[in-house]
Symmetry: C2
Subunit: 338 residues, 2 copies
């Protein structure tokens, strides 16, 4: 059902019908009502493509889903996606998703998205320190917002958890509990957030006069399997840490499993801290101490920010750092006296 057909039925011009439906003031209330009624009755729905073509915008935002993140172990992305999707939907924007293997294909996918005018703006998640996707978008002048920061020449619109502060506080708390040998299982170093987490951890150590021990630092992928691997290495050695700070709840849960397998009591012999506060964290055995991040909320905010960006809001007004408070449960406790 097209505008033309509705217009013919009513013996009006398409112009008038269009303007009636779009709330222009130059159509009488009587005809506006007639038009609304007729449109409703025949089930008229505007053709998105025609609208988009005419307006020169596609009313859609794109996001790339690196397939690697699709894995079960990493529920982060779906949660973010739902947050973004819901909010965009209520703003009457479509969300175009491309799943591509991580690597050069990613930038290509963004290219197809923006150069084919399929999306007015894009969202980037899991930013890397030096991110070609961001470089490309800046160069092209495409509006975008990111979840996570990056090292860029010009400022970008982002939302991010303040992982540095969170990790500093968590480390301070562990020190307060008497821990001295605190290990960090960090994220892959190309991720911007990896540096933040490590910095926060180091700041707290330094403030307490503890020197950073490279043997107490491991890097691994952000999933449970990564956690088990790293924990095996760290806990298998002779200078075993008394506390384990994990980049992720998934990693922390993996570490918890290893501790159990090795017969290390948590929290009596080993304290473990995660990040994210997944629902599973509270149900772990013992319930996991972690830093809370509202991922779905961040997704919703990201969607709002992308709308704002499209509406012309300045980048400087679209940079948000979210607190990630420490939720103390039962996986942390006083350091053992050994």
């Amino acid at each position: 059902m097209t505008l033309k057909r509705v217009a013919e039925d009513l013996n009006l011009s398409v112009t008038t019908v269009s303007r009636a439906l779009n709330g222009y003031p130059d159509v009488s209330e009587a005809t506006r009502e007639k038009v609304r009624e007729a449109a409703r009755k025949v089930g008229y729905v505007p053709n998105r493509l025609a609208q988009a073509l005419q307006r020169g915008t596609s009313e859609a935002v794109g996001i790339i889903l690196p397939s690697q993140f699709g894995h079960f172990e990493d529920p982060f992305f779906l949660e973010l996606l739902v947050g973004i999707g819901e909010r965009l939907h209520s703003a009457n924007l479509d969300l175009v998703v491309c799943a591509v293997p991580e690597g050069p294909a990613e930038v290509d996918a963004y290219k197809r998205l923006v150069e084919g005018r399929r999306a007015d703006a894009v969202i980037i998640a899991r930013t890397r320190r030096h991110d070609e996707r961001i470089d490309y978008l800046i160069e092209q002048g495409v509006p975008f917002v990111t979840h996570g920061r990056a090292e860029t020449a010009t400022p970008i619109a982002f939302i991010d958890a303040d992982a540095r502060t969170a990790f500093r506080r968590a480390t301070e708390r562990l020190i307060e509990l008497g821990h001295r040998r605190i290990a960090l299982i960090g994220a892959p170093e190309e991720l911007f957030t990896a540096g933040e987490r490590k910095t926060g951890y180091e700041e707290a150590l330094r403030a307490a006069g503890i020197t950073f021990d490279p043997d107490l630092y491991a890097v691994t992928r952000l999933n449970e399997r990564g956690g088990t691997a790293a924990a095996e290495r760290l806990l298998g050695g002779d200078k075993r840490p008394t506390a384990l700070l994990c980049a992720n709840d998934a990693i922390a849960l993996g570490a918890l499993r290893i501790a159990r397998r090795l017969g290390i009591a948590v929290p009596d012999e080993l304290s473990i801290v995660g990040f994210d506060d997944l629902p599973m964290a509270a149900q772990a055995e013992p319930p996991l101490t972690t830093m809370r991040q509202d991922i779905r909320g961040a997704g919703a905010r990201l969607a709002e920010m992308v709308c704002a960006r499209l509406g012309g809001t300045a980048i400087a007004d679209l940079q948000e750092l979210l607190e990630a408070p420490l939720i103390e449960r039962e996986s942390t406790g006083l350091a053992s006296q050994t």
Copy 2:
């Protein structure tokens, strides 16, 4: 950069440029090369919206993400999404995702998608026995494929795990191991697959001359929390089952947790079986016996099917039932003699 600009640069008509790029035979090889070269040099990318409008197709398929499924506990959807997305991307189709709360908003979202010509076809996941989304799409004549079957008047294109056979086999195996009191934690009954699973279970019981005991049947949501709740009920009673068949790995993991909390040894006192074979299943303590389902593969196949459907393949040729083989690990064993 538009077709017109390219044409002007070359002193050709837009017609010729268009036809040159699209491989029509009525343009000389010499001009075709010139056009290709010029287009490449100025970075011409066709405007998807204009193409879509003209062709009357949007080159996109839609999928609705019920927000409820976005939850961390249920990684199913993301995996499916990645499978679908990758394959569609390589077929040069866009994937438009809407996240909406489950309920009437779902059908509305599909309406917006198809009536606004935003998608040529749609994919439905987690089908319900009586599914308004499907009814609507059939009525509208919109091509669609589903993950999961449904009770419909006319046949539909679907892909689904053969949960009935899988659950029958699993139950048979438990009976073979000496179990008599086998409980089932099923999915919410409005889901089509819930009935399939229960039927398979009942078939095996009947064949072994065991009568179905309603006290050994619980229904719960398909996530870990659902599993803990249902297991608490089933294991707390006096006529405790010796085996637990779960609709889901997530549920099974929840049940495992409850067994541990109640001090019930797995598998010595209680056998537990899941479904999906999430990566986590193999790493559970003890490693979970489960039925394997390749969700990402199903997603890819779903994408192929939707392409086939758009290409005119008959519905009858697009109905696939996938085997879900039993993977025996250490959460199952001989029935205890109590």
